[in-house]
Symmetry: C2
Subunit: 268 residues, 2 copies
DNA sequence: TCATCTTGTATACAACGTATCAGTAGTAGA
DNA sequence: TCTACTACTGATACGTTGTATACAAGATGA
């Protein structure tokens, strides 16, 4: 502490690892690194300190770019939503919404930690997430659907998608933690909690599904079945009540919208 | 440290506050207390220490009853699901599923922290949560729906319900944090984040909703509209493909099922 | 050359979840 | 009535976490 104001000696200077090329950090790099860690080890591995070591930087360094951990999580969400491939644009509303739903599910399965986020964080209004909503709303507006209905429809599909996929991921992780195989010895190697529940006899219909369900191991079928229900229900209303003010001039062309020229956080 | 083995003196004994009536704790009391705190101050207020002081007990005391904080959260979830009023049983599947969805939404709005839980915890298989699934599955089985389809239907509705209500709660909290009033000065007092997004011009359909949406402040309408879509879509499939093996003997009566004689965590 | 801005670093702290162990009130045998 | 036992609660402590604050070193512009 004595030689503080004298500056470092020559030897100290020589020993200093690298003259730290400035600007080693950026929101992009931070997001990409955090996402890589979360993909590999789950959301619990995301720690400001862990992130710092992964970036090769002091624990507090990232705070120049994110105001705190919540910010970091938002950044991560936006970063991965840039991956989501949006349908090209000429298909009808139904095909558009369907493809967005399937893409979203694939995205969540690729980044399981998305399902571990508190419900609020998943819904944060980040640029790339908003682009997805925009695509859905635009497809509906093009059909002449009024804004309120369009939002209700889009919210319905995306709620279904998020909820269903979240449940699928939770189930997967329980099964992985339990070391289940792929076959039908479900009951014998059941999680103790579940065994207890079923044996109370209070859940016969649930039990029947566990024993007799054939599609238990087919999450694709489950997801797509439910998705068709939802889309069918929407379609019924769309055709029964004729579209209001089709080609309203307030409906912008969406060629100019969407994802080209995206926000900072992009690519991977 | 000297008089350790002599035991407390008479005066010490007299001074001891209460001779601690045994069994001050129980899972019920723990759950009820934790729920009360979370209801009043949000999930972040739930701390093992805070819980302990609220119970008037040492920080580690609760660990005799829950193995850790995750356990505590599960206990809380189960505790509040005991509140959920299940439909009485004679209505058709559609009315049953509809009422369960509405009840679930009301429950979540009463306990906003349910939406803050990581997606996995909300789906934990607790007795009272399973009772809700059971009720849906039973209503469908009674109609002769096979177990796989019944589960797909039930999962669809509950995914929709959880996702939609979670989004509603997140929105509410953003609005509350921003101090919005009830009227149409939406854009001027908009959250800065949202203002920025809209001004990029990349989200015209989204922007149109913000400016022209009439039902923005009507979450009941939004929820029920989407719910009808979902139920309509299910109904279409149910009638088009005739039920298989109606009154199959594997379909138990559900008079005996459901929620009477519930698990430990009950009431409030 | 010097002041200023930017960017990463060092240190520190309060709060958290929880392991461990000690104490103590009730119960059961003698 | 005494003693041993058991079930429960309390105290203490440790490692980790998010983050406030103050500082230093490279970059920049006069």
């Amino acid at each position: 502490m004595a030689a503080r104001k004298d500056g470092p000696s020559l030897w100290e200077r020589l020993e200093r690892p690298t003259p730290t090329p400035r600007q080693t950090l950026s929101p992009r790099r931070i997001a990409a690194t955090a996402v890589a860690v979360a993909d590999a080890e789950g959301l619990d591995a995301i720690t400001m300190r862990r992130l710092a070591t992964e970036l090769g930087v002091a624990p507090m360094a990232a705070y120049r770019y994110v105001s705190g951990k919540d910010d970091l999580l938002e950044l991560m969400v936006d970063h991965v939503y840039a991956e989501l491939e949006l349908p090209s644009g000429t298909a009808g509303w139904r095909e558009t919404l369907r493809e967005i739903a399937l893409s979203t599910r694939r995205l969540m399965l690729r980044h399981l930690w998305l399902a571990q986020l508190p419900a609020g964080a998943t819904l944060a209004l980040t640029p790339n997430r908003t682009a997805v909503s925009e695509r859905s709303l635009a497809a509906l507006a093009e059909q002449g659907v009024d804004p309120d209905t369009a939002m209700a429809v889009a919210a319905t599909v995306s709620s279904y998608t998020g909820g269903m996929t979240g449940a699928e991921i939770a189930m997967r992780q329980v099964m992985a933690g339990q070391g289940w195989s792929d076959e039908e010895e479900v009951y014998t190697s059941l999680a103790p909690q579940l065994t207890y529940l079923l044996d109370t006899g209070r859940y016969p219909a649930f039990k029947r599904y566990i024993f007799e369900g054939r599609r238990k191991k087919d999450p694709d079928w489950q997801f797509e079945t439910g998705l068709e229900y939802v889309l069918d229900g929407i379609a019924a209303r769309m055709t029964s009540s004729p579209p209001m003010s089709p080609r309203d001039d307030a409906v912008r062309r969406e060629d100019e919208t969407g994802r080209q020229d995206r926000h900072e956080t992009e690519g991977s």
